[in-house]
Amino acid sequence: MSKAILTVDDSNSMRQMLAFILKGAGYQVVQASSSDEALSHAASRAFDMVLTDQNMPGGDGLALVCALRALPAYGDTPIIMLTTESSDEMKNKGRAAGATGWMVKPFDPNRLLEVVRKFVN
């Protein structure tokens, strides 16, 4: 059974790009357009990895990381921030929140898949 990845981004285009790449590589992809939607998906099933944007209306990515880490099933799940934010300050906040890594947009599809394979396979 293919590994399942939850992608969280308020941008429809980013969700589509991620879906093309990840599905093309054989992963099962569930998309969420907000932090709340992501938490709802996360509560209903387990994912092998989460890729999340930072700046989203209604709840940012760092808060989502904290909320996911508070769920027993997501204590060790790789969570990668995928965002235009690139400052060290934000990265440190990501690390403190429990994120596994930080990837700056626009992302390179091959680099993204390398990261996904490193953690998921």
């Binding site: 941008s11 990265k91 990837m103």
Partner: protein, 162 residues
């Protein structure tokens, strides 16, 4: 002796504020229209991209009779497009910033208008308060603009694993 309203109740002050508000409303409509155009264009491009991407995936699975060279060329195109199509996200964020600035200026104009109107009615001395509103708005817009610039300043695609 100067009346309290003499400082600011110049002929046409309220008219000028109203005219600026009208212009701002036009900018808001332009931003909304730009967003519609962007979404429409991206939707069409994304649909084309999906077709090309599906061909590339099928070819890699050997469902299409493409040579290795053609396959590599196709993969290079789809990889490039995947990066380039992310322009929509950047542009959308820029439009969000423009919209935020326009809305902040709109609020400041509205507050200024209220203060000027009150002053013309002889209620209080609004010039200082109006300037304060404008200064606060400028500062807030500048801070937001600095943050937006910082977001786009770093080279794309860097990855850091913790």
């Amino acid at each position: 002796m100067r009346t309290p309203s003499a400082n600011y109740a110049l002929p046409g002050t309220l008219g000028a504020i109203d005219a600026l508000s009208e212009i701002l409303s036009g900018v808001k409509r332009d931003v909304a229209r730009s967003r519609e155009v962007l979404n429409g264009a991206f939707g069409k491009i994304a649909a084309r991209f999906a077709q090309v991407h599906a061909i590339a995936v099928a070819a890699e699975a050997r469902e299409q009779g493409l040579s290795d060279e053609a396959l590599r060329a196709l993969r290079k195109v789809t990889d490039g497009l995947t990066i380039e199509l992310q322009f929509e996200d950047s542009l959308s964020q820029l439009l969000d910033h423009v919209q935020g600035k326009v809305e902040a200026i709109g609020v400041a104009l509205s507050e200024t208008r209220t203060l000027v109107s009150a002053g013309q009615a002889g209620e209080g001395e609004p010039v200082g308060a109006a300037l304060e509103v404008l200064a606060r708005t400028v500062k807030s817009i500048q801070q937001a603009a600095d943050a937006a610039v910082a977001e786009r300043a770093t080279a794309c695609g860097s990855v850091e694993l913790f």
